[in-house]
């Protein structure tokens, strides 16, 4: 047991944060929010040069050979800086999916380009009115030599800049009834509409209207889509938790800095006990969030089962970090109510990250499901074995 960052990890985090915090001005970040791309290509190139886009990929594919835990630290740093990039779409979603579950053809073709930052890919999983994945309505109908894809996907990240979209569809050819297909985004019949959304991500609704792809578009071996999807969802939830931790840290830092300098009633705001107690609670909650997120990320990185830990991390961060940003605003007062004060960046990003990959209610339902059906997993690795002393 050793819950501390290694020197290397700590150094990675510091480097990432220093870069992320200086990459863009707040004005530029705000300006990017409405744009089609949603990020600054030059900054993404720099991130690739520093090895972040390749961080989690093997050396032989041009990556840095690090793991999911290090990726979480980078995502946290980007969250803390409110820095937009296609990291989530291209690396966390599509890139890692291809790395872990992709057939050799696609892995070899795309992972090195994703790692190098040369190509951006994304995924299309969720559907309108059906965000909880209970059913998938998009279909991949077998045609001679390929498939025809019909359906509408939503919450597709960076669809305007992605070369291709790894798309989930029902498919009768596969034993699990599902297929993940790589759809070049310029194909005829692929249409996209920008979602207007809280936070800084460029999210899209993407409609596939009789889109034809060849049989080689299949990303995973038959019957492997569901497993790949499970891993994608766990990874996405964990890394959104990491982003939330970064958001919370930024909101707390802004608040403490403001409380130390703002004077009201002839005293620094931060000398009022109510403000102190709010800040202490924020700090305590943030620490708990960070530890839960670290645990989930470390288990995923080690390939251990992490259903429980991911659900706990995402449930807790999705509740606590938006609450923390509300308290941050309460302490700031009117000054932070204006768009030119950076706190609002975190306020809105907390809403978006809390809702992405399952909000707190969703993940508590997942935990309750474990409780009902798999008590040992619910209780975790370190437990003492029920029943307790029968008294």
């Amino acid at each position: 047991m050793d819950i501390t960052l290694t020197k290397e990890a700590d150094s990675l985090r510091s480097t990432a944060l220093a870069f992320a915090q200086h990459a863009l001005t707040h004005d530029r970040i705000r300006a990017l929010e409405g744009s089609d791309g949603g990020f600054e290509p030059d900054v993404w190139r720099d991130m690739a040069t520093m090895g972040w886009s390749g961080c989690v990929f093997p050396l032989e594919m041009g990556g840095a050979g690090l793991g999911l835990f290090e990726l979480a630290l980078i995502v946290e740093a980007c969250g803390q800086a409110a820095l937009p990039s296609p990291m989530f779409a291209s690396v966390v979603e599509a890139g890692m999916l291809l790395l872990e579950s992709g057939v050799e053809r696609h892995r070899a073709a795309w992972v090195p380009r994703i790692a190098a930052g040369d190509a951006i890919l994304t995924t299309a999983v969720f559907e309108p009115g059906n965000a909880e994945l209970e059913t998938v309505a998009t279909t991949a109908t077998p045609l001679p030599g390929g498939y025809r894809i019909d359906g509408t996907k939503t919450f597709v990240r960076d669809a305007a800049t992605a070369r291709a979209i790894v798309t989930l569809a029902r498919c009768p050819d596969s034993p699990d009834g599902l297929a993940l297909l790589l759809v070049p985004s310029g194909l005829r019949g692929v249409r996209r509409q920008r979602l207007s959304s809280s936070g800084g991500e460029a999210l899209w609704e993407v409609a596939f209207d009789g889109v034809s792809v060849p049989a080689t578009a299949l990303v995973t071996e038959p019957g492997q889509a569901l497993a790949a999807l499970d891993r994608l969802l766990a990874r996405g939830a964990c890394l959104k938790a990491a982003e939330l931790v970064g958001i919370g840290q930024a909101a707390l830092d802004l608040t403490v800095a403001y409380a130390k300098t703002r004077v009201q009633f002839e005293r620094p705001l931060g000398s009022f006990q109510a403000v102190q107690h709010h800040c202490a609670t924020m700090y305590r909650d943030l620490r708990v969030c960070r530890l839960l997120m670290w645990e989930a990320a470390a288990r995923l990185a080690a390939g251990q089962p992490a259903q429980r830990e991911v659900a706990m991390a995402k449930a807790k961060t999705s509740d606590a970090i938006p609450a923390l940003t509300r308290t941050a605003h309460q302490i700031h007062g009117a000054i932070a109510y204006y768009r030119d004060y950076p706190l609002e960046l975190y306020y809105t990003r907390a809403v978006a990250a809390a809702a992405a990959y399952g909000n707190a209610t969703y993940h508590r339902r997942a935990l309750a499901h474990l409780l009902a059906h798999d008590l040992d997993t619910f209780r975790g690795d370190i437990h003492h074995g029920l029943p307790v002393r029968p008294r």
């Binding site: 969720f126 309108p128 009115g129 965000a131 909880e132 939503t154 919450f155 509409q193 979602l195 207007s196 959304s197 809280s198 936070g199 609704e205 009201q264 009633f265 009022f272 109510a274 403000v275 938006p322 609450a323 509300r326 605003h329 309460q330 700031h332 007062g333 009117a334 000054i335 932070a336 109510y337 204006y338 768009r339 030119d340 609002e344 306020y347 809105t348 809403v351 978006a352 809390a354 809702a355 992405a356 399952g358 909000n359 707190a360 209610t361 969703y362 508590r364 339902r365």
Partner: protein, 386 residues
Amino acid sequence: MDFDLTADEHAFRDEVCAFLTAELTEAVWRTERDPDEQGQWRREFTKAFRRKLGAAGYIGMGWPAAYGGGGKSRVYQTIFAEEMEYHRAPGLDRSITYVPNALLAFGTDAQKAEFLPRIARGELSWFVGYSEPEAGSDLANLKARAVPDGSDFVVTGQKAFSSEAHMAEYCWLAARTGPVSPKHRGISMFIVDMQSPGIRIDRYPTLAGWTHHAVYFDAVRVPDAHLVGEIDRGWSVIMGAIDFERAALAAPGLVAFQLDRLLAHAREQGRLDDPVLGDQLARLATEAEGARLMSYWIASLHAHGEMPQFETSMAVLCKRETARLFDAAGLEMLGAFAPLRAGSPGACFDGDIEAEYRDHLYFQFAAGGFDITRNVIAHRGLGLPR
């Protein structure tokens, strides 16, 4: 002790509800909204609507008959405010709640005669010029100065967080006329014509989407006759009028609307029998009922001639904390679709829940806010020492 509306009150409520339903048609909702404005109604529409409120007799309801008032009890005013909030109607704000009551309490006869009839007709919008960049919660720290010069005062300074300043005919201004220490002394109240030379208004976008204002006064001349109350004694006007604002803020229509909206959503989604959601809606409905009762309790005290003070602050706190519970719970209930904004595919209620989650942030710090209000309750309500 009667928790039901009387027949008269019920009829009044139905009348207001019918009035608002007739005025705020679907077409109006389509054409008159403006995301740049606080409250999100076009400013011309707000001004026109306020005139309609005046014509319908809803503005002076609680004033003495001598000033054209209807002499209706606070219960009626609360019913009116609840309906206005529930229908998200424009125009019920400081221009008709705060300023006329402050004028009635502290104005000269001439000032009352000059302004009250026009306010009652809904003709005037007011900007309340209190806050400054360095004077928020600590209002007495204000720095704007008014220097006597002949039969005028000359005002110079800057006001911040200035709701409706861009559409106001007049400003209800606090400025320093006397010594800086003790800070609460030396403040005076003025009525300033917003057409006066030397006034400049800047716009600042808020995180809620709408535009707020800052107002700069550069040697603006205000006649003596528009000094309200005694010179250097403006603090007692400010303090004495606080309750007028609080009572309006405590109206429970917002949380009733928030509850009904979530219920409508749950019903539409076939989730009224979801146990976890049911437990949460049970909690929220209970809090909403508490906020409603607090509001009518304050109204009842007024109707009995009592003068609730910190109790009104408590009612505002209760209503606003409950509204914030609804804001967060609403996002949670929308799940993955919570962040979607107006006009976006997939947005529920046109993104209103997320928009309100941002907008209502000011509940937590403005007009006292959650922390200062707790100070007030502790000091004035419980007598705890400073």
